[in-house]
């Protein structure tokens, strides 16, 4: 049984059919890519899976459990972590606090612990800190631990966002254009980071990208989405060279101006 | 101060800022006029310079407590005049009583201000007295059988008085004779809804124990709704500004109060004339009552027959002297304190005549 199984999911905004009859099955350890023109509905699919929107129709099953109707924090706590197309970081919080925050659902000291600084709270907080530091190191941002995120270079911010998602200890990671705005160098190191995380935790990854190179390097399976529908899916090479995909999405790459 | 030995300090706990700065201004005016007239007091054959300390309570309970404490412990006053409104006078009275310092609130009509507080006195009659005065007047002089009441629920004084009026009126005419008992909240400006109810109820008289600033709006709302019957007010109407705000619309109506400015005689007239000359307006109740309360305080100081210089002992002496005062001839009437520290005094009912003056109509004294 696949880890994440989406069947016949549709959603519309007012009159606009943003996603229609979308299907996905993602096995543990698999990396699937989602490409498609702007406005095709890729981000919307992420939002539907994680519970930000509720699909008009269809079901999303994760580890055998139905996700539709669950709130984003619940889906996340179950092991579905994500990053955002336009990074969503907390302006006034330090890097370490960002990472620790993702342990929220794993803390069990409760409100009384929060108010009264119980030994249990101290223990759990200490553990969360240690764990967070490990992740910060893994994503090479540990030297920024005490700083506010806004003061970090762009690439580092992206890695913080990724580390934050990883601390949830997810089974599936949803990445929405993780290399947007990066130089080729930064892009390459991002690919490495994703690959490492994948290998280390046998993570299933669902990835939105416009950079075909990234898709190519990472994905075993790719879906091409157009107008909310999957147009073609298969191995990266197949999809990339599919005439329909070229027509709708890739275009002639070498144009002369 | 240097030579504190031969000065007497009186503190004033009054609202110089906040919602009602004109109350503070009137109190201060009266006090300053008093000081001009009586810069020194003779006590036990020794002459003392009078010194007044005015402190602002911002029309807030919290500040009134701080100010009282400050006046007593920092300024070392012998006695305190004020606060004026019960919402400040009740908590400030607690402080004064705890520090064993005599306090007279000129204008607070809430029974709790003086209750069980030997050091706290007041300069005016109480609501339980004024209410029946108004009810009897409505019955006897206006021939009313059904009455309507419109009052501010959120302010201590109108609310209390409205209730006392209702009780008194219903005692005379039976339960239900107050056919409309309508209220609003401090700061309200529109009374049309309440007036519509009152019109429907078919009352013979409208009693509205409101401040002079609200009276014009109430009167106008009444007239706009077609009200043609008498309106009766209370001591809070008696401000020099009432007619300036209300104009012709208020003429012919009545209110009960502490003194009648028009047609006053003797001391009262002297006070009114002097005040008018000095500040350009007729003194309102606060001014007159502050004057009297101050007078009472000074009288009590004189009655001690001599001050020891130890302010704590002197305060106790002043309190005893205050309690013992008999028939003090105030400009708002003769005063004798009951055991609670409340004066027995007469109320007058005035009518606003065609010249816009508050003309004496009737005087009612406690039995």
């Amino acid at each position: 049984m696949p880890l994440l199984h989406v069947s016949d999911m549709s959603h519309n905004f007012g009159g606009l059919q943003a996603v229609s009859e979308y299907n996905l099955s993602l096995d543990p350890g698999q990396i699937t890519g989602l490409i498609g023109p702007n406005g095709a509905g890729k981000t919307t699919i992420f939002n539907l899976i994680t519970g930000i929107y509720r699909p008009t129709r269809g079901s999303v099953r994760f580890d055998g459990e139905e996700l539709v109707g669950k709130k984003p924090n619940e889906t996340a706590a179950m092991g579905l972590a994500r990053t955002f197309q336009e990074m969503k970081l907390w302006r006034h919080m330090t890097v370490l606090d960002h990472i620790k925050m993702a342990r929220y659902s794993k803390l069990s000291y409760g409100l009384m612990g929060a108010f009264l600084d119980t030994p249990r709270r101290r223990r759990e907080e200490r553990h969360a800190t240690e764990l967070s530091m490990e992740y910060l190191e893994m994503f090479a941002v540990d030297q920024f631990a005490g700083q506010l995120v806004v003061n970090l270079p762009y690439g580092a911010q992206r890695r913080v966002e990724m580390a934050r998602a990883m601390v949830i200890e997810p089974k599936v990671l949803l990445l929405d254009e993780p290399t947007v705005g990066m130089t080729p160098d930064e892009m390459m190191s991002m690919i490495e980071v994703v690959r490492k995380a994948h290998e280390r935790f046998n993570l299933a990854i669902f990835l939105i990208e416009h950079r075909l190179k990234v898709v190519h390097e990472l994905c075993q399976h790719v879906q091409a989405l157009v107008f909310g529908k999957v147009l073609v899916e298969g191995a990266p090479n197949e999809v990339q060279n599919h005439p329909k995909v070229i027509e709708a999405y890739i275009g002639e790459q070498e144009v002369e101006f | 101060d240097a030579g504190a030995a031969d000065t007497i300090k009186i503190g004033f706990n009054i609202p110089l800022t906040g919602d009602n700065p004109d109350v503070g201004a009137s109190s201060k005016n009266a006090a300053e006029m008093y000081l001009k007239k009586n810069p020194t007091v003779e006590v036990g054959g020794k002459s003392y310079a009078l010194k007044f300390v005015f402190d602002d309570n911002e029309y807030k309970a919290e500040s009134a407590v701080k100010v009282s404490t400050k006046l007593i412990t920092e300024e070392g006053v012998l006695g305190i005049v004020g606060p004026q409104s019960s919402s400040q006078a009740v908590p400030a009275g607690e402080v004064a009583n705890n520090f064993a310092t005599p306090m007279i609130s000129p204008w607070s009509t809430n029974p709790n201000t003086t209750l069980d507080r030997p050091f706290v006195f007041r300069g005016c009659f109480l609501d339980p007295f004024q209410g029946p005065v108004a009810a009897n007047f409505a019955t006897d002089e206006l021939g009313a059988k059904k009455a309507a009441v419109l009052y501010d629920i959120a302010a201590d004084y109108p609310k209390g008085l409205a209730e006392f009026f209702k009780a008194a009126f219903e005692e005379i005419h039976g339960p239900g004779s107050v056919v409309a008992f309508e209220s609003f909240t401090t700061g309200d400006k529109d009374f049309s809804a309440q007036m519509t109810n009152i019109m429907m109820a078919g009352a013979d008289v409208l009693f509205t124990p409101q401040y002079y600033s609200e009276v014009p709006l109430i009167v106008r709302a009444a007239k706009e709704m077609g009200w043609t019957k008498p309106i009766l007010g209370s001591d809070s109407w008696g401000s020099g500004d009432l007619m300036g705000l209300c104009g012709d619309e208020c003429k012919g109506y009545y209110f009960s109060t502490h003194y009648a400015a028009a047609g006053a005689k003797g001391e009262t007239k002297a006070f009114i004339d002097e005040y008018t000359a000095k500040y350009g307006k007729t003194p309102d109740d606060v001014a007159a009552l502050t004057w009297d309360s101050l007078g009472l305080m000074i009288q009590a100081i004189k009655d001690t027959g001599g001050l020891s210089g130890d302010v704590k002992k002197d305060r106790a002496k002043v309190k005893d002297a205050l309690a013992g005062i008999k028939n003090y001839p105030g400009i708002t009437g003769g005063m004798t304190f009951t055991a609670d520290g409340d004066p027995k005094k007469c109320a007058v009912v005035v009518q606003i005549n065609d010249e816009g003056k508050f003309a004496f109509f009737k005087s009612v004294c406690p039995k």
Binding site: R91, H92 | T17, D19, N20, P21, D22, G24, A25, I153, F181, E182, S183, F184, T185, G187, K189, D190, S192, A193, Q194, T196, N197, M200, S213, E214, P216, L217, R220, K223, E224, M225, G226, D241, G244, L245, G247
Partner: protein, 321 residues
């Protein structure tokens, strides 16, 4: 409980609602465009009323009163309205310049605090200059009461309601049909980039305040006609209640503010007869004093069912920190 009784209250509520609506409108202008709680707005209303008082007294002394009058009362009223709206607009512009422009990058709540403080300064300045006592607003036009089938209506009430509605419609047009209005709405969303499309941001901000303040002045003068006692704190409770109405209406919606203003007026006025009716029907004796309690409970309930206000769109508007 007659039809008359209901109609009478309806007429009263219309007038009362007009004030809330007019003030809420000015509030909403600044709120929806600059995304600021302009806690000084109630006090600008007060300033407008006092300016109106000064202007009308000036005009009356110039053109005479009573039999010696050169100009009719209604003309003086119109002049007073125009001149005072103009002058109060300047007060608004100064408030914007001093209290809000320096804080454009600051958290919105900080600007709300400056607004609150400017309000206090305006009140205090009034007391300093005019003393604490109340002033009477001159009655520029003769009051005439019409008895229409047992319902009492005055000419002033009619005029107040009409003028308010007229001003509201004009404003609605301005916001939704002109490029100035468009610029204002754009500014609400992202003021930083407004200059990048060639729109003079400071001018728009100043104009927003100017229009809002002019409306407050109009409200102040009409208020003076209806309730002729002015005091330095008259704007405080109006300010807070207009704040409720402006947000209840829904952010970005001028019409919403207007409707919510009327609605608040209606609720406040109508609870009094409603309580009376309930009392009669069930022979209870609930006091009409529960008005605030009931009125604001209704507001609460409305917000439970329409969490984004009456006309508001559902987008997040966190305080900018």
């Amino acid at each position: 409980m007659t039809f008359n009784f209901f109609m009478q209250n309806l007429v009263n509520a219309l007038q009362w609602g007009s004030f809330y609506a007019l003030i809420a409108l000015g509030y909403s202008m600044v709120y929806s465009i600059l995304m600021l709680f302009n806690f000084a707005h109630g006090d600008i209303f007060m300033v407008g009323a006092y300016i109106g008082l000064g202007v009308s007294l000036g005009l009356l002394s110039l053109f005479g009163t009573g039999a010696a009058a050169v100009l009719p009362g209604w003309l003086i009223l119109v002049l007073t309205l125009l001149v005072s709206m103009f002058l109060t607009a300047f007060v608004g512009i100064i408030v914007e310049r001093v209290g809000y422009r320096p804080l454009r990058e600051a958290p919105r709540a900080s600007a709300a605090i400056t607004g609150l403080m400017i309000g206090i300064i305006l009140e205090t300045a009034n007391i300093l200059f005019l003393g604490g006592s109340r002033l009477k607003f001159p009655q520029l036009i003769e009051s005439v009461t019409y008895n229409i089938g047992g319902v009492y209506v005055t000419n002033k009430k009619i005029m107040i309601v009409l003028v308010s509605i007229g001003l509201m419609l004009a404003l609605h047009q301005l916001i939704n049909r002109t490029k100035w209005g468009m610029a204002m709405r754009a500014m609400a969303y992202d003021y930083v980039v407004v200059p990048l499309v060639g729109v003079p941001m400071n001018t728009i901000a100043a104009m927003t305040f100017a229009i809002g303040s002019a409306l407050a002045a109009a409200a102040g003068i009409l208020f003076g006609l209806a309730y002729p006692v002015l005091d330095p704190y008259m704007g405080v409770s109006f300010g807070w209640k207009a704040f409720v109405a402006a947000i209840l209406g829904g952010r970005g919606s001028i019409m919403g503010a207007c409707v919510a203003g009327f609605m608040l007026g209606f609720i406040e006025i109508m609870t009094v007869p409603a309580i009376m009716i309930v009392n009669r029907l069930f022979s209870l004796s609930i006091g009409s004093n529960l008005r605030d309690l009931i009125a604001y409970s209704i507001v609460l309930v409305i917000l439970i069912f329409r969490p984004h206000g009456l006309f508001g769109q559902a987008y997040s508007s966190k305080l900018r920190l």
